[in-house]
Amino acid sequence: MINTVYRLASPRRFEIAFSDIEPHESVIVRPTHLSICNADQRYYQGTRDAKVLQQKLPMALIHEGVGEVISDPSGRFCAGDRVVMVPNIPCEQDDCIAENYLRSSRFCGSSADGFLQEYIGIEPERLVPLTPGIDLDVAAFTELVSVSVHAVTRFMDIAHRRRERIGVWGDGNLAFITSLVLSRMLPDSRVYVFGISREKLSDFSFADGAYLTTEIPDELTVDHAFECVGANGSPVAIEQIIDVIRPEGTIAILGVSEYPVPVNTRMILEKGLRLFGTSRSGKADFQRTVELYRAHPTVPSYLSRLIGNIVEVYDFADIKRAFELDARKAFGKTILHWKL
């Protein structure tokens, strides 16, 4: 079937391409609700390294999205099923390394075309059914939530058992989601959020405490910490975490930075800290996330507060409009209602 693909050709310029997808070889999914990620914005605005842009573009962006199954030759899904699409495409199996860390894996919107397509031809293993009735605008950014779920799941395997107080650094989308996920997956822990905007911090009503990074009480310490700042803020955030965290604590790094970040290794050694990185997520994390939505209806309810702009995309120009709107937002997610 001829499939229209909307690719970013160069920063701020999309073009149309056509691919051929075989309905009898893969599940055909019609994307319905998509969400723009900061990684998409870095391609769109051209803030990635010029070499990377030259190597990867033209490429269809967007790796966060849900859709409706049109047909499935494997018989595992029925036409009309609502599904979340897993953008990670493993190309090998490994008993030790998770699919999202295998260097051979491909990722939609990074090393393969993303979801800005008329239809998606996808393996049934890359689909996770959604609970009926779920808010599809929230479900659109399940991938981002699954990254937090992945980080918390790994944290639970790695960190020591004293988890009375957990700190989350950052006051953006990722920090909001991670602290929300922590509060539900570790209900006995107290979750404290540290950010730079008093206004944004007031949104974290589910947390046990929210502090400006300039006003952290001297006596406040945390057993473990999640860094959700990224970019230029990473060095300062990590420095402060190392200062506030108690010995033998575990630090999960989630924030993406384009530049190398200096880290105070002396204090890491002195305190016996553990740092681990998390990036992306695998299918199991998507399944856990969908289950989290089902078991804790307050999670999708809180997440709906992140929805900033909703753009109805009927036209090629609407894609650009959505990215421009998203680029101007301070907080929240831009959702595309995909009608193209």
Binding site: M1, I2, F18, P23, K339
Partner: protein
Amino acid sequence: MIFAAILAGGAGVRMGGGDMPKQFLEIKGKPIISYTVEKFAVNPRFEKVIVLTPRMWIDHTREILRRTLSGCDRIEVIEGGATRNETIMNAIRYIDDLGQLDDDTVIVTHDSVRPFVSHRIIEENIDAAVRDGACDTVIPASDTIVESISGVTISAIPERRTMYQGQTPQSFSAKLLRDTYNTLTEDEKDILTDAAKILVMKGIPVTLVRGETYNIKITYPYDLRIARSLIEEPYDD
């Protein structure tokens, strides 16, 4: 109920002089008609996708579609008529014979040689035909349209901003289209170039649906070259 009627009546006389009708020519190893039918077959809103073709090509068409669209039981291949509109009437007669023709029946008619039709165009056709009774897919004219009655000199140059180029699908309330067609005289039928004109001649409004410039009709060898070059391999860095 919504039905698709894929009009595959062309004999292909303009396509390089071969005997094969142009809908059977291949792009990347697959006949054009398969690409076109796939776009309708994957849309769950269609009760059936009726493919209309000259009698001598029925078995060939069935075989091609069986091979490329195995597992889809909503496709029916039946005989077309002597003209485009007689072909559409055959489709409506077929729906009637199934006992599924009523006031809510919509028929989405489409050229078998427009494989680049998009999901949006099909959806908007269905919605407009259900809502308004009739619609036609068009794109704004990009070239100035010149009218010449004599074929030698210009008789008029219409204002371009009111000019559109017609594409397909054209979609209708099936009963409205059939009943209006049956009121036409033979002279009126002779000057029909497409189905929308049946209603336009009788003053019945036909809504415009926005087409796409890439929703091309593969008529000439040049179009086939374009179509082949447009379909790329999937992205993989």
